[in-house]
C-alpha cells in the first residue's frame, strides 16, 4: 500500500504517541521548522533531527472556532486555535487552558505539549506557560 503520509510526519506522530512533542531541526543550518518534512525549507539540507523545542513560543493570534470543519473530535465548543511564533518558528495548534472569559493575550508565552484524544492519535496542543 502506498504511503499516505511522509516519513517526517510519521516520526512526528511516533514521538507524540510516546508522549513527546519533537520538532524537526535541520542539522545543517541548526534551525527548527514546522511542519515536518524530509528536508529543511531554509537550506534544503536533509539531515533532520527531531528534538524538543528550544525557543519560547508566544501567541501571535488566536480564534474561537464555533463551526469546526474537520474530522477531529470536538470535546466542547468553541475550539481555541492559536498561531504561535518564536524567533525561528511559527506553527498552529489547538489551545488548552483558556476560556472566552480569560482568553489568550497576544504575546504571552505558551508551551507545546501532548494531548490524548481518546480513540484518535494524540495531538500537540498549546498551553499557558508556567
Amino acid at each position: 500500500m502506498a504511503a499516505l503520509s511522509g516519513q517526517a510526519h510519521r516520526r512526528f506522530q511516533e514521538a507524540l504517541a510516546g508522549g513527546s512533542v519533537l520538532l524537526p531541526l535541520c542539522l545543517s543550518c541548526d534551525q527548527p521548522f514546522f511542519y515536518p518534512r524530509q528536508h529543511c525549507p531554509r537550506c534544503f539540507g536533509d539531515r533532520i533531527s527531531f528534538e524538543p523545542i528550544r525557543e519560547p513560543l508566544r501567541v501571535r493570534s488566536f480564534a474561537w472556532v464555533w463551526r469546526p470543519q474537520s474530522r477531529a473530535k470536538v470535546v466542547s465548543l468553541p475550539v481555541l486555535m492559536i498561531a504561535a511564533t518564536s524567533d525561528h518558528l511559527s506553527l498552529f495548534a489547538e489551545g488548552s487552558g483558556w476560556s472566552e472569559a480569560d482568553p489568550p493575550v497576544i504575546g504571552e508565552n505558551v508551551n507545546l505539549t501532548v494531548a490524548e484524544r481518546g480513540d484518535d492519535a494524540p495531538v500537540a496542543v498549546l498551553r499557558r506557560s508556567g
Binding site: 493570534s61 511559527s90 498552529f92 497576544i106
Partner: protein
C-alpha cells in the same frame, strides 16, 4: 510598455452559469455548459477552440483533457489550474501568452465546481498534506478559522476595525442587488454585519462566502481572429503571479501581490489612480483589505484608513467587486477565482446592464488561494484594458 508576451491575444467574451445552492450537475457538466455558452456569446462553436484551461476542485477523476473529450474538441494547448482561487486569473494570463506565442488561437478558460457546505468541508480534510496532517487533526474551522487568525493579527498589529471590514461587505452587497445571479441580494446593514452569528471569532457569518454551484468562463482569441469576427477586444496589459511567497511565514499579513504589484503596474503602464474598478478576490473582507495594501492603494497597515475614505460603490471613486463578489454572489469553488474576471470582462464590454459603470476602460482582477499550512499560497493578478 504592456507585456509583449500577452499582446497578441484579446479577451472577447465571458459567461457565468446560474449560481445555485445545490445542483444535480457535476463540476464537469457545469464547465462544459460554460464553455459552450461562452463560445455561443461570440458567435462561435466549441469546435473552433484549439486551447482549453480548466480549474476545479472537484473535477477528478476528470481533467482538462477529458473535459475536451466530453466536449468533443481537439486541443493544441491544454492547461489545468492547481492554484486554488488564483487559478482563474493565472489561466487567463497563461492563455494570452500561449496565443501570443502562436501555440493556440482560440482558448476558453473555465472554472467550475458543484459545491455544498458539506462537500466543501469534506474537501478541506484532504486539500493538501500540510492541511491534512497538521490542521485537520484539530477542530480548526477550515479556512474560516485560519482567516480569523489573520484578521485578529491584522487588527492587533494595525488597529483595523470590524466596521472597516463591514464597509467592504456592505458595498459589495449593494452591488449584488443589481446582479440577478448573486445568491445574496438582500440589503446588508452594518448592524447585520457586526451582530451576525459567530463562525470563528472574530469572523462572523457575513465575513464568509456561501459555497455554491456554478461555472465561469472567459474566451480569448488571437487579435487577428477577433478582428476577423468583428468582436470587441480587451487586452491583458500585464499579469503577475507568486506562489508560496515568504515560505517560512505561516500566518502572513501579506499576499504574493505585495511582491509583484509594483512590476504589474509598471508593466501595464497605469497607476492605481487610473483604474476604473477593482475585482479583488474576496474570500473574506480582511483579505480584500490586505490586498488593497499589497496592490499599493495604502501602505501596509493603512488599509483600514483607506477603506474609511473610499467609496467602493458602483458610483463611487473606486468600484469594488461590482457584481457583489463571492461574498454576495457565492463561491462556486474554483469558479470563485474566475468570477472577478467574468465581471471585469462584462464591465469592459459594457454588458453589465443596471450595474454598468459609467466608466469602465481599465480594471484590475486578482485571484488568491490554495490554502496550505495556514495561508493562501497563490496570488495572481492582471490589468485589463478595453481596446
Amino acid at each position: 510598455m504592456p507585456d509583449p508576451y500577452l499582446q497578441g491575444a484579446s479577451i472577447v467574451g465571458a459567461y457565468e452559469t446560474p449560481y445555485t445552492r445545490d445542483s444535480n450537475a457535476t463540476s464537469l457538466e457545469l464547465a462544459v455548459k460554460a464553455v459552450i455558452e461562452v463560445c455561443r456569446s461570440a458567435g462561435m462553436s466549441p469546435d473552433q477552440l484549439d486551447g482549453l484551461a480548466v480549474s476545479s476542485f472537484q473535477l477528478a477523476p476528470d481533467n482538462v483533457v477529458t473535459t475536451a473529450e466530453h466536449l468533443g474538441i481537439t486541443l493544441k494547448w491544454a492547461w489545468q489550474g492547481a492554484h486554488g482561487g488564483a487559478s482563474g486569473v493565472a489561466s487567463i494570463v497563461h492563455a494570452a501568452e500561449a496565443i501570443t506565442l502562436g501555440r493556440a488561437q482560440a482558448v476558453v478558460c473555465v472554472a467550475s465546481d458543484s459545491f455544498t457546505v458539506s462537500s466543501h468541508v469534506a474537501m478541506l480534510e484532504h486539500f493538501n498534506s500540510g492541511m491534512r496532517d497538521y490542521l485537520a487533526p484539530y477542530a480548526f474551522g477550515g479556512a474560516n478559522g485560519l482567516f480569523a487568525l489573520v484578521e485578529r493579527a491584522h487588527r492587533h498589529a494595525y488597529g483595523t476595525t470590524r466596521e472597516q471590514l463591514g464597509k467592504l461587505a456592505i458595498a459589495q452587497r449593494q452591488s449584488a442587488a443589481k446582479n440577478a445571479n448573486a445568491l445574496l441580494r438582500q440589503p446588508l446593514t452594518i448592524d447585520d454585519y457586526l451582530d451576525a452569528r459567530v463562525i470563528a471569532d472574530p469572523i462572523r457569518l457575513f465575513d464568509c462566502v456561501l459555497p455554491c454551484c456554478g461555472a465561469d468562463a472567459v474566451l480569448l482569441l488571437s487579435n487577428e481572429l477577433a478582428a476577423k469576427l468583428g468582436l470587441s477586444r480587451i487586452t491583458v496589459l500585464a499579469g503577475g503571479q507568486r506562489h508560496n511567497f515568504l515560505p517560512l511565514e505561516v500566518l502572513s499579513l501579506r499576499t504574493g501581490a505585495a511582491d509583484f504589484a509594483e512590476d504589474l503596474f509598471r508593466t501595464a503602464g497605469v497607476t492605481q489612480d487610473e483604474l476604473d474598478f477593482l475585482q479583488l478576490y474576496d474570500d473574506y473582507p480582511i483579505m480584500v483589505l490586505i490586498q488593497l495594501e499589497d496592490f499599493g492603494f495604502a501602505e501596509k497597515g493603512g488599509g483600514g484608513g483607506f477603506v474609511d475614505r473610499t467609496d467602493f460603490g458602483l458610483e463611487g471613486t473606486l468600484p469594488l467587486n461590482t457584481g457583489g463578489g463571492q461574498l454576495s454572489a457565492g463561491q462556486a469553488g474554483a469558479a470563485g477565482g474566475m468570477i472577478g474576471a467574468v465581471e471585469a470582462v462584462t464591465q469592459l464590454l459594457g454588458l453589465a446592464a443596471e450595474r454598468q459603470l459609467k466608466r469602465a476602460k481599465v480594471g484590475l482582477v486578482s485571484g488568491f488561494g490554495m490554502v496550505g499550512y495556514g495561508k493562501g499560497l497563490s496570488s495572481a493578478a492582471m490589468i485589463l484594458r478595453r481596446q
